[in-house]
Every structure is written in structure tokens, then in C-alpha cells.
């Protein structure tokens, strides 16, 4: 309770003249009558002939002072610091990211958020409506706009914390779009995260942020887990982060999970390794596990923290040692050790070598080294040193000792590739076809072309590897990886090895497959008719997902991906700094946290004052004929009340 203009309380001094007017006798008109004898019979109490009369408390004075008090109180603009009232239309965005599942006290942060929203539902004005948006991996409408409190509570109860990040910006955009169509629309965001100030400032609708989350969370989490394949074999890389303020002890255990098969769906996990570790405060520890079992397909790391751990979803992570059987590559060459070794080092590629003229079909990528491709072949192919009349690109001669003069820096083929130290002895002189662009040129002559020809991606390298020092440079394997990635994006890295929960995973079934079978962790396989490009979105549950391409129930390829939180921001349970959120709200021009709205009480005070004045008027004119002149007299001279007028019943007729 506070007063906006406490100086107005000084007007309470008006009570003094009111009381004085009651003490003053009123001026009366003289009227001569034959005798006052009969009037004496009406009022025996003879008044003293003095300007003052004895103060007699009465109801009219009390009512007038009460009315004055109410009006003075109204002028002082009293207010209550209350939770901000809701408007007629409210869009509530609730964060259901992984960190909202952190245990605090008896419940999770999501439980606390639900409590806040239940308060909002309870404070919803009559006729008010609310829209509930859950901000998970995507923003989605959990409850369409309704005024039904029960439906809102039911939808709220059905919300669960997801295992990934929250797409707060998406959800806010969705909420803003909904609020913009509503009169008096307002957005309330309930979250534990750091909300970018610009995100809120850009919203058209007024936005309030209700922050949840305790001040001292304790959590250890796995923030990175990846398999690195080298010549010496696969290595597992794990990073454990501690967002707390104290050093923590923990043990990490590594398991090998068998792929689920129809024959043995419940095959036991195999322990691979275990290691104790100490994670410093506000720091992390990186671990590398080598000597992984050669037959291990899925690795799972379990983190057991010593002591309290508020968030469990980041204590387990999965990694696949390979994402699949790999793309099949046919290398047609008269003999090129560089290419064989280079392609063989790339992960997930099964390289076959064929003599020129013995080209088989059914491969994902064809690499023609110095030979013309099979006529009519419409498949991803890489041409090296194409001969004249190869049917794909026109060769008009040869270039002696070309010097690389330019590269297209933005071309993904050249990502991480440094060709500045590369020297060439000779190269074919190519004419850039219409379907291709040049990534590397030597003067007017293209050295590296790429494009899509007849629906298949084609890359052309204009020189023989033996005529350059490129294979001896570090740029060579990177360039090969980029080229295979370009030629077959679905195997070259577009299907990520690990994704966040809720993310959409592109699946590109192998040519000839009629069915894609996805086996989520702990679930029965899902069968999807094969299309050129599939998007798999049912990735809410963390774990390893097995993907098989089937042709007439025959597996063409087995691969998969893992779904992991692996997010240092989510593992850091510290609530967003108030300053950041406050800045966001200040820019949005709205109240920030619950509890800082002011409910002004001056309307009730004015209503009380007017009601008391009306009661006083009624009491004064009870039994009289009301007249405008009398009312004016009463307003101007509130003390003008005769004793008879104040309370006639107190004048017994004697």
C-alpha cells in the first residue's frame, strides 16, 4: 500500500472547518409571530444567545467527515502493489525446455511455472481469454484461445518438460502473431532462461516475463560427445561441464548398446569403460576414450554426479560410431593410390575399385580417373583429368603449368581448403559448360567445376593428381571430403550424427529402397514409405535411432543418428540474470516480473465518497421536500443544520 500523492492528505485539514461549521450557529431569518408560546411547546431547549453552540456529535457530521476522508484518500492516489492484472486476452508462453525439468524443492521448474500460470488463469478477468503456447523445440499451441479455465488447466497439466532447447523466439513470434489479432492482447512469458532483449523489444504486443528458477542450482552435464574416426580407429570424445559454484566429483561410465534387432530386442549393454573425474567450478573436463570395441555401434555415456544433481536429462548421451554402412563409391581408375587412400579415409564410404571398362551399376558415387564415364550414366560422379570426348565436359586441349589465380571463396567445395601452395604440371583445358560453375581457375581456364547435370551432381577436376603436389598437402583429404559431401549430401553429412531433441532430421533413402524403418530408443520400429526426401521429426526422446533402408524387406543400408541434449546453456541451470531480463522488459516498455504492478484504489475511494455523500444527502432530506436551493445550501454550508433538522425525533412534543 502506498500513496502516489501523499501531499493531498493535507486536504484532510478541511475537516476542521466542517467541525467549526457545526459549532457555529446558523444565521436565521427573523419572523414575528403572535406568540412563541406554541413553539416553545415544540422545542423546550432554550439556546444560549452565543455564536457558538455546544458540540453534539451526530451522524451527519460523521458521514461528512467520512466522505471527506474518502475523497482525500482518492486524491492521494493510493495503490496496492499487486500482481499485475491480466487483460482481456492473454497469450501465455511457457518454456518447456530441458532446464525446466530441473528439480527444485518438491517439484520441477516446470511445476513452478505451472503454478504461476494457474495464478494467471485464476486472475483472468470474467470474459477474458487465454492462449497457451508451449516453447519446446518448436513453438506450438498447447491450448487454443479459450475462456474455459478448466480446459486451460487441463492443457497446462498435460505439459511436460522436453529434452532439448526451447525455441523461445519462435514461440514468441507465434504468440505475437496471435496477440496482434486480439484487442488488448498481451504476452506473458514464463521461463527460466535468458531471454534476448531484442526478442522481446521487437514484439508488437506488450510482453511480461515471469522468471522461474532457484538461485543455487547444482548440476553436472555432458555437453559434448562425438566419435572421431582416424586411421588408428575410432575415438570417443566427451566433455563434462559443471555450472555450479563448487568443484564436483563424478564418475562417467561408457556402455556399448547393441542395435535393436527383431531377434534380440533386449540385448544387454556391454560395459566399455568407466572413469572418475573432478569437474572444477564453472569449468569442464574433456575425456577421450580410445580403443573402442571394433564391433561397437552405439556408445552411451552415463554421468553419475556425487551428490545432488538437479537435472538428469543431461547426464546421459549417445554416439554412433558410424552413421551407417556408408555410401558406396566406385573408383574407376587405371591405378591411383592417392585416390584410394584418400577416399578410404573418409568415414562412411565403402570404396570399390574397378578397371576402366568394367563399370558396374548400383553405386552412390562414381569416380572416373582419367577415363570417360559410361555414356548415359546419370549418377553423382567425379571426373578427374577427363579425356577428350568424354561426353560430359568439352576438353579443348591442355594447359601447361597452370597457376591457380582465383578461387570462389564462398563455394562449399573449398571450405577449409588452402590451394595457395598447390602447384600443377599440366591440366586439361576445359570449356565451362552451362550447367557448371568454376570454383578454381587458372587464368581463363577452369580447374574445378561443379554443377547438376541431368538431375545428378557432377564435379570435374581438370588435372591428374599425379601431375600435381595436391595429394601431398593437407588440403587434399578436405577437398575429397567436400567433394563427396557435395556429390551425395545425404551421406556426406546432411544427416547429422547427433541432433537436439525435437529437431527435424532429413532422411534420404538409398535409391531402390521402398521403405524406411526408424527405430527410436525403446520403441517399436516405425515404417515409412520411401520418398526422395523424408523429414523425421519424432525425435523428442534422447537416445540412438536406428535407420534402415529396406527394399522388399531386404536391408539396403543400416545407419542412424543419436538425439542428445548436449547443450551447455541448458545444463547451466542458473536463472537468467535479472539485468538481462529487466533490460528486455524495459525495452518492451512493460512491467517485468509478477508482483510489481500497482493497482490504484482511487476509484473505489471516490465511489465510497460519493456513496457516503448520497447517504448524507438522503439522511438530511429524510422527511423533507428536496429542493435545489437547499442542496446548494447544504453543499456550500455543510454546517447549516438546525437541531430540529438534524434529528426531529429527538424533540419530544411536551
Amino acid at each position: 500500500m502506498g500513496l502516489l500523492t501523499p501531499l493531498a492528505l493535507g486536504l484532510a485539514a478541511l475537516a476542521v472547518p466542517i467541525v467549526v461549521l457545526y459549532l457555529l450557529k446558523i444565521k436565521r431569518r427573523d419572523r414575528v409571530v403572535p406568540s412563541t408560546l406554541l413553539w416553545d411547546r415544540l422545542a423546550r431547549d432554550v439556546e444560549a444567545n452565543a455564536p457558538w453552540q455546544r458540540f453534539r456529535p451526530n451522524w451527519l457530521l460523521f458521514l461528512q467527515l467520512l466522505a471527506l476522508a474518502a475523497l482525500v484518500a482518492a486524491l492521494a492516489r493510493p495503490f496496492l502493489s499487486v500482481e499485475a492484472a491480466l487483460g482481456a486476452s492473454t497469450v501465455v508462453v511457457v518454456d518447456v525446455s530441458a532446464s525446466m525439468g530441473a528439480v527444485e524443492g518438491d517439484g520441477t521448474r516446470l511445476d513452478a511455472a505451472k503454478g504461476e500460470i494457474r495464478d494467471l488463469i485464476a486472475r483472468m478477468p470474467d470474459g477474458g481469454r487465454m492462449l497457451l503456447v508451449a516453447a519446446g523445440a518448436q513453438g506450438r499451441v498447447a491450448q487454443p484461445m479459450t475462456g474455459d479455465r478448466d480446459a486451460l488447466r487441463d492443457s497446462l497439466d498435460a505439459l511436460n518438460a522436453e529434452a532439448g532447447q526451447a525455441a523461445i523466439a519462435d514461440a514468441l513470434a507465434l504468440a505475437a502473431a496471435a496477440a496482434a489479432r486480439l484487442p488488448d492482447g498481451e504476452i506473458v512469458l514464463v521461463s527460466d532462461g535468458d531471454i534476448p532483449a531484442s526478442t522481446i523489444a521487437d514484439l508488437a504486443a506488450p510482453t511480461r516475463v515471469v522468471a522461474v528458477g532457484g538461485a543455487d542450482p547444482l548440476n553436472l552435464g555432458i555437453t559434448t560427445m562425438a566419435v572421431r574416426r582416424g586411421v588408428a580407429g575410432a575415438q570417443l570424445f566427451v566433455r563434462v561441464a559443471n555450472a555450479g559454484t563448487a568443484e564436483r566429483e563424478a564418475r562417467i561410465t561408457l556402455w556399448s548398446e547393441p542395435e535393436p534387432t527383431p531377434d534380440d530386442p533386449d540385448a544387454a549393454d556391454v560395459l566399455v569403460a568407466a572413469q572418475d573425474l573432478t569437474v572444477p567450478a564453472h569449468g569442464d573436463v574433456a575425456l577421450t576414450f580410445a580403443e573402442l570395441p571394433p564391433d561397437a555401434s552405439v556408445l552411451r555415456a552415463d554421468l553419475a554426479a556425487g551428490g545432488r544433481d538437479d537435472l538428469t536429462v543431461d547426464d546421459t548421451a549417445w554416439a554412433r560410431t558410424r552413421s551407417g554402412d556408408g555410401a558406396r563409391v566406385l573408383l574407376v581408375t587405371a591405378g591411383n593410390l592417392f585416390l584410394e587412400r584418400g577416399l578410404g579415409l573418409l568415414p562412411d564410404l565403402a570404396v570399390s575399385v574397378a578397371e576402366p571398362g568394367a563399370v558396374a551399376s548400383g553405386y552412390d558415387i562414381y569416380v572416373f580417373d582419367g577415363v570417360a564415364p559410361t555414356p548415359g550414366l546419370a549418377a553423382p560422379m567425379l571426373l578427374l583429368n577427363p579425356p577428350v570426348g568424354n561426353g560430359v565436359v568439352e576438353v579443348s586441349g591442355a594447359v601447361e603449368t597452370p597457376a591457380i589465380t582465383g578461387t570462389a571463396g564462398a563455394d562449399p567445395l573449398l571450405g577449409g581448403v588452402d590451394l595457395s601452395q598447390t602447384n600443377l604440371a599440366a591440366a586439361a583445358k576445359l570449356v565451362t559448360p552451362s550447367w557448371a560453375t568454376a570454383a578454381v581457375v587458372a587464368g581463363p581456364d577452369p580447374l574445378l567445376l561443379s554443377g547438376t547435370r541431368d538431375g545428378a551432381r557432377v564435379a570435374v577436376l581438370a588435372f591428374d593428381l599425379h601431375q600435381s603436389d595436391l595429394p601431398l598437402q593437407t588440403a587434399f583429404p578436405v577437398l575429397l571430403a567436400n567433394l563427396t559431401g557435395f556429390l551425395l549430401p545425404e551421406t556426406g553429412g546432411a544427416t547429422p550424427a547427433t541432433v537436439s531433441p525435437g529437431a527435424v532430421v532429413p532422411l534420404r533413402p538409398r535409391a531402390g529402397a521402398d521403405t524406411v524403418e526408424v527405430t527410436p530408443p525403446g520403441s517399436d520400429p516405425l515404417r515409412i514409405p520411401a520418398q526422395t526426401e523424408l523429414l523425421f521429426a519424432d525425435t523428442a526422446r534422447p537416445g540412438s535411432y536406428l535407420v534402415r533402408d529396406l527394399a522388399a524387406e531386404t536391408p539396403l543400408r543400416a545407419g542412424g543418428f543419436t538425439v542428445n541434449l548436449l547443450d551447455a546453456a541448458e545444463s547451466d541451470l542458473h536463472p537468467a540474470p535479472d539485468a538481462a531480463v529487466a533490460g528486455a522488459a524495459a525495452r518492451a516498455g512493460t512491467a517485468l516480473r509478477s508482483g510489481d504492478a500497482r493497482r490504484f484504489l482511487w476509484w473505489p475511494a471516490i465511489a465510497l465518497g460519493v456513496a457516503v455523500l448520497a447517504l448524507e444527502w438522503w439522511a438530511f432530506y429524510r422527511g423533507r421536500l428536496p429542493g435545489v436551493g437547499r442542496m446548494a445550501t447544504m453543499v456550500a454550508f455543510p454546517g447549516r443544520r438546525s437541531r430540529a433538522g438534524r434529528n426531529p425525533s429527538r424533540l419530544p412534543f411536551r
Binding site: D30, V32, P34, L37, W39, A43, E47, G623, A644
Partner: protein
């Protein structure tokens, strides 16, 4: 000012047929139309009584002596006149009212009418004006011819000053020849003069009171509203009131109760009490209410 003899001929003729009602005959001083309690020499037989030595032998009933051999005297009624005492309140409170409803003028005409009735019946009429005391006494009028002087006396009366004290005035008037006494007053004084009325009764008078109040005393008009200081015409004392309908209703009820109270007090002492509003025409009042109350017959 309306004179006291402002009567038309027809009303005077009707007045001449009236007489002042007297319940008990009293000895008079002169021959009149009223039977005296004393035995006299009229032609109307009254009674016998035994002869005593010294009685007038002319009144002995010799026929009775012849039959009974005892001496009886024949007694005859003695017709004498009566003296009507008319007491007119001329206090300042009587100077109130508009036009014919002015209390003093109305009362003066009533006194004139009553005096004319008495004079036409060969009664004697004595008029006195009272206020704080007896203000002025008239000579005793007798004979119809004295009516002119009676009216002249009444017309000369003006409002007195000072506070009304009917008790003192009536008490000092009481030692007159007993007879009917009619007080015409608004009774606006402490105790409404009942002590004085008792003194009149003790002096042998048959007392009647005509209580005159102006119509706006009975029911104050619309202009008497609001915050007022009421000033007493006689004493100058004032009373502060805020008049509204509720209070005026109480006032009217209070006046009615006051008149009832006076009526009861008069009834206890065999005093005729006739309340009247001066709005009522005098002729109707004399021929109506006064006859009903047997003040005149």
C-alpha cells in the same frame, strides 16, 4: 378598521331574537326580562309561605285562610335584569391576522354582537379590555339605546402593549355584580388564564370562553419554512427553529392538543369553551357554534 357595529340590518334583527343564556338567575338591580331569584311583585305566582309577623298583610291569601284558618302569604316572581360581562383580550398577540380574520377586529365585532344581544334583552352590559391587567372598563350599558355607546367604546379600543397576564386581569375583575361573563381571547399566555377563570367562577360569574385563533396560527402558511428565528410579538423573545413538513405536522398536532387541554380544563370547572378560527364568518359563528354551546339562546 372594521368597526364593531359593522352589522347588516338582517343580522341585527336576528340578534334581537337571541338572548344571553343564563343557567342560574340572580338578583338584579333593575327591572328586566330575567326572572330574579328574589320574590317580587310581578303577576306570575311563585309559591306560598307561612305568615310571619311584620309581613305585608296585602299579600295574605285570604282564601286559603278561609279554608285552613292559617295565614299564608302568596309569593310572586320578581323579573329583574342581568349584567353581561364582556371581557375582550386586546393584547399584542390579538393584533394578528389578515382582513376579516384579524383576531382583534373579529373579537371586537363578536363583543359588539353579544353586547347588542344583551342590550336588546334589557340586560346590562359591562365591557372590559384585558391584557397584562384590566386595561379599560366601560360604563355599564343598559337599554337598546346604549348600543351606540357600546359600539363607540369598542371602536376606540386599540392593541395594548406588554405581556398578556389573563390570570391577574381576570382576578382583579372578579368583584363585580355576578352575571354571565364571556371572555374573548387567544389565551396565548402561560396557563391560558385558567386561574383567572377560576377566580371569575368564584366571584359568581357564569364564565364562557371564546378562544380565537387566526387561521395561520392553526396552520402556518407556506412562507413559514426554513431556518427561522421566531420573535414573540408581545415579549420580543425569540425561538430558533428549522421548519419542515415534519415539524409543522407536529406543530398542528400540538395546537390541537393544546385546545383539547383547555377544553378539558374548562369542562372540569363548568366553563363553556368555544374554540374558533377567525376565518369563520362572525354571523355563522354566533348563530351556529355559540347557540350549540348554549352561550346564546
Amino acid at each position: 378598521m372594521t368597526p364593531a357595529n359593522d352589522f347588516d340590518e338582517a343580522f341585527l334583527r336576528r340578534l334581537e331574537r337571541l338572548s344571553i343564556a343564563v343557567r342560574r338567575n340572580r338578583a338584579g338591580q333593575a327591572v328586566g326580562h330575567r326572572r330574579s331569584p328574589a320574590r317580587g311583585s310581578s303577576v306570575e305566582f311563585a309559591d306560598f309561605r307561612s305568615y310571619n309577623v311584620g309581613d305585608d298583610l296585602r299579600r295574605v291569601d285570604w282564601n286559603a285562610y278561609a279554608r285552613l284558618e292559617r295565614l299564608f302569604l302568596r309569593l310572586y316572581h320578581d323579573d329583574q335584569n342581568a349584567t353581561l360581562h364582556l371581557l375582550l383580550d386586546v393584547s399584542a398577540s390579538m393584533d394578528w391576522g389578515e382582513g376579516d380574520a384579524h383576531k382583534l377586529r373579529w373579537a371586537r365585532r363578536l363583543v359588539g354582537a353579544l353586547g347588542y344581544v344583551a342590550l336588546s334583552e334589557l340586560d346590562r352590559v359591562a365591557v372590559a379590555t384585558v391584557a397584562g391587567s384590566v386595561v379599560q372598563r366601560s360604563t355599564v350599558f343598559s337599554g337598546v339605546r346604549a348600543a351606540r355607546r357600546l359600539f363607540a367604546f369598542l371602536n376606540a379600543q386599540e392593541t395594548a402593549t406588554g405581556v398578556t397576564d389573563l390570570d391577574a386581569a381576570l382576578a382583579s375583575y372578579g368583584n363585580r355584580a355576578p352575571g354571565p361573563a364571556i371572555l374573548v381571547s387567544d389565551l396565548l399566555c402561560e396557563g391560558f388564564g385558567q386561574t383567572g377563570m377560576r377566580a371569575l367562577r368564584a366571584g359568581g360569574h357564569e364564565v364562557a370562553v371564546v378562544h380565537t385563533l387566526a387561521p395561520d396560527e392553526l396552520d402556518p402558511g407556506e412562507d413559514l419554512r426554513g431556518d427561522l428565528r421566531l420573535v414573540d410579538r408581545e415579549s420580543g423573545k425569540h425561538r430558533e427553529v428549522t421548519l419542515d413538513e415534519a415539524l409543522l405536522a407536529r406543530y398542528r398536532a400540538g395546537v390541537a392538543a393544546w385546545r383539547e387541554e383547555i377544553g378539558r380544563a374548562c369542562l372540569d370547572r363548568a366553563i363553556a369553551y368555544v374554540p374558533v378560527s377567525t376565518a369563520e364568518p362572525l354571523e355563522a359563528f354566533v348563530l351556529g357554534a355559540l347557540r350549540r354551546e348554549r352561550v346564546v339562546a
